[in-house]
Amino acid sequence: MPEARHLSSCRDGDVLLLVGTMKGVFLLKTDRRRASWEAAGPYFPGQAMYALAYDGRAGRHRIWAGAESGHWGPALHSSDDFGRTWIEPTGPTVRFPEDGGLTLKRIWQIRPGGGSDPDTLYCGVEPAALFVSRDAGTTWSLVTGLHDHPHRPRWEPGGGGLCLHTILPDPADSRRMRIAISTGGVYRTDDGGATWRASNKGVRAEFLPEKYPEFGQCVHKVVQHPAQPARLFLQNHWGLYRSDDGGENWIDIANGVPSDFGFAMVSHPHDPDTVYIVPLESDAFRCTPEGKLRVYRTRNAGASWEPLRRGLPQKSAFETVLRDAMDADRLKPAGIYFGTRSGKVFASRDDGDAWKAIAEGLPPVVCVRAAVVGDAAAKMRPAKPRDTRARPSRARRRAA
């Protein structure tokens, strides 16, 4: 096995990029200027790393990693020293009850909780289920309110498996959360996880006879801005949507994109109207359209989208960016990052206007997470009141 190279140092204010690949974790680090990057890894060589997270709450510098060994199965790990050493939870970890008839296949998502509690963490897994830790990851338990939902036997695996891949703790209300399952759709709880209900009104299920079912949609990603938690954006398996009422209703915002099929979706850290996506041609050909690698950005909540291509290959670039392979840091201007299945990582330090390859030749990238070291408030800031009225948008049906 290759010996991991470690980061030389990591100070508060540095930008850390966690890159999960099919063959291990790589760390990329830079300072606030984001001009040059130092690389470290591989950690967990040979293992698929679909879920990574940085927990900077309560003074921590903790990296979480969901590893998947082809031999020894999935396991959750954490490091408090930027990858030099890793430990597993000492108590009950992310694992199904032994009498439940289910075997954990993959950890898809690790998400620090919202609100003021710095010790809550969530994991979304395959087969679709949610786990929670209330002690900063020492012990974990299955969220039975979701697990016992009567819809669960009718959730079906998408191309990537039956995965719970998106967890959105509401920053304004610690008892409220949305999750997304492929295929199952969006579900929300308003009582801390005791009960859940489907939240997919207006989201299309192209592959079902009933195109707008209560649940069963193949939602690929949902994002939420902490300053405006009632507004959500959704990248569907065919379809781009926005909700202005917390997911009660969804409207089509695929206005001017080459395809409304895709996986990755990221919210701008400071502007709730700005979202980034990487459209793919179709479910039959999951590559960037026309061989051009373009990020699309809306700055008006989906009323229109603009291609961002400066610094990105525009010839023979049949790339794929998966659902968690894109993220943003919290600096101004924001850094936007994504990785491809061909092992490249691209970065922008100016809100997406211009891009640069900062890593190439990696194994297929399946997860990218950005963090500013020492940014303890990351992703847990309380919401500020904001006008949540919907902006007009041109409803558009996807071309058949």
């Binding site: 040979g46 031999h71 020894w72 199965g73 396991a75 439940g100």
Partner: protein, 93 residues
């Protein structure tokens, strides 16, 4: 009565660095023998068997030279002084 379990490199750190565990007990079968191993070193359990109690698909367990896949699985008898070998299958990575 006794038996031994030989561990592969990736599991050794979960047994305090040991690559061989000698046990003075007489389990009826491989399932019972592995239960003893998991009692001594709990972290190994999730690596070797699923929550449903099955040996992971890409993990092989041998009694002597014979894979338990062909001798009754976890119900394979464990003779006195048996050597149980756990190995990753020829896959993965």
């Amino acid at each position: 009565m006794s038996f031994s379990v030989v561990l592969p490199g990736p599991l050794s750190p979960l047994a305090g660095g040991r690559n061989r565990v000698d046990v003075q007990e007489s389990p009826a079968d491989v399932g019972a023998a592995l239960a003893v191993l998991f009692r001594l070193y709990p972290a190994i359990k999730a690596r070797v068997v699923t929550e449903e109690g099955q040996v992971r698909p890409h993990v092989n367990v041998f009694v002597g030279d014979e894979s338990i896949r062909y001798t009754g699985g976890l119900a394979t008898p464990v003779p006195d002084r048996a050597e149980i070998v756990i190995l990753p299958a020829v896959s993965g990575g």
